[in-house]
């Protein structure tokens, strides 16, 4: 059975996802000891060539899979960088195509802003479960910052899955699952009426949660999951990286008051992508 990691990277004008994916890939490869492949699009490839990182990309990734850029022109979201805010397209609508695109029989999909700093996920390759998704969001500050909509897709909807890390075996069951995710994406507005969530931005987390709910016969079934997603929000700021310690300023209860803390030897989802890029070189030293 071949094992490998997939990272999606579709650049927008504000965020260089392909450079970020190099970092995520190198960290994942170092700590999980499996190859990493990239799924990207022609315009991101053009940018890669223009910015002279083609050689690094080729050396980092096992395969570079080029697909169509998802049509997410209206999927605009706010990206916070500490106290500052930027609006940019959220090009993430093609995650459901991973089943067709992955070259591996057992695939781990991670976000480009997920920093794999341990081998924890290695424990999950051989778990006897076709599909593993993280079912919980674990905020760095603690439960004070976790709202109901971080754990459920809406006030009356089902529990949220976090598509930041997803592991699956390529078989008929998971094909059905990813086809369902594609269907939910296509009929997103209709499902927003049924599940009562806000459809303004397409979120894979929501599409994955609904697809699993449907697959489970519209019921909650206890099943194995990947570890909780240990996260810093985009209002938090990664300020420094020193001796494998990531120093963060944490927005206390989402306010403009900040608390300092460090993270080391722990996988972390850094939603503030701008602060990853500011500390890129220091983070690369960890690879």
């Amino acid at each position: 059975m071949s094992k490998g990691i997939i990272i999606f990277a579709h650049n927008n004008r504000q965020i260089d996802y392909i450079r970020m994916s190099i970092l995520a890939a190198k960290l994942a490869n170092k700590n999980l000891q499996v190859p990493v492949s990239l799924i990207t699009d022609p315009s991101t490839i053009d940018w890669m060539k223009e910015s002279n990182i083609e050689k690094t990309v080729t050396e980092t990734f096992d395969n570079i899979i080029i697909t169509q850029r998802p049509d997410d022109t209206n999927n605009i979201r706010n990206y916070d960088d500490g106290k500052y805010r930027v609006h940019a397209p959220f090009n993430n609508g093609n995650r459901c195509s991973i089943w067709d695109l992955t070259p591996y029989t057992r695939t781990l999909m991670i976000d480009a802003d997920y920093l794999t700093l341990t081998d924890t996920l290695s424990n999950y390759w051989d778990i006897d479960s076709d599909l593993l998704v993280s079912s919980k969001y674990n905020d760095i500050q603690g439960s004070e910052r976790i709202g109901y909509l971080d754990t459920h897709i809406s006030e009356t909807g089902v529990e949220m899955l976090w598509a930041t890390t997803v592991m699956f075996t390529k078989n008929e069951t998971t094909k059905m699952f990813f086809d369902l995710v594609a269907h939910v994406r296509e009929k997103y507005k209709m499902y927003s009426d049924i599940y009562r969530f806000n459809p303004i931005i397409f979120r894979n987390d929501i599409a994955f949660s609904i697809a699993r709910h449907i697959m489970n016969g519209y019921q909650k079934i206890e099943e194995p999951n990947l570890p909780d997603i240990f996260s810093t929000i985009d209002k938090d700021v990664l300020v420094d990286v020193n001796n494998s310690r990531l120093k963060f300023l944490i927005a206390q209860n989402n306010s403009d008051d900040y608390i300092a803390t460090t993270v080391s030897n722990k996988d972390v989802h850094v939603m503030n992508k701008f602060s990853i890029m500011r500390n890129y070189d220091r983070l690369m030293e960890l690879t």
Binding site: N123, Y124, I127, D128, N138, P224, P227, I259, A260, T261
Partner: protein, 116 residues
């Protein structure tokens, strides 16, 4: 009064940083105490260690079924090897926990906490 208030606020900052560091450390150790084997995933805790040791004491060393974190039955063909592995991981993780915890406990300011 202002000076006392400033001191209290500074201390409050320290306490919050300390609480986050401690929470993060605990979660890091929890991850280290997770062990995937034979298609199952086990949480290494005192209950597992005791149960495994008891089975070995009762000479049940081969082809034993253990329930994993998800309550799934997992066949362990060599329980002695499994026991040695989980004990190693337990001691390694808890020693790391002790070392790291003492470091953050000794740090008495936000600045020193960030260097731990």
């Amino acid at each position: 009064m202002q000076e006392q208030l400033d001191k209290a606020l500074e201390f409050a900052n320290y306490r919050q940083s300390f609480a986050i560091q401690r929470k993060t450390l605990k979660e890091k150790i929890d991850a280290d105490l997770t062990y995937g084997v034979n298609g199952g995933i086990f949480k290494i805790d005192r209950s597992l260690l005791n149960f495994v040791e008891m089975l070995i004491f009762k000479s049940r060393k081969e082809n034993v079924v253990l329930l994993d974190m998800n309550e799934n039955p997992i066949l362990i063909d060599d329980l002695t090897k499994f026991r040695d592995e989980v004990f190693d991981r337990y001691f390694s993780a808890t020693f790391t926990y002790l070392e790291e915890y003492q470091k953050i406990k000794k740090a008495r300011s936000v600045e020193t906490l960030l260097e731990v």
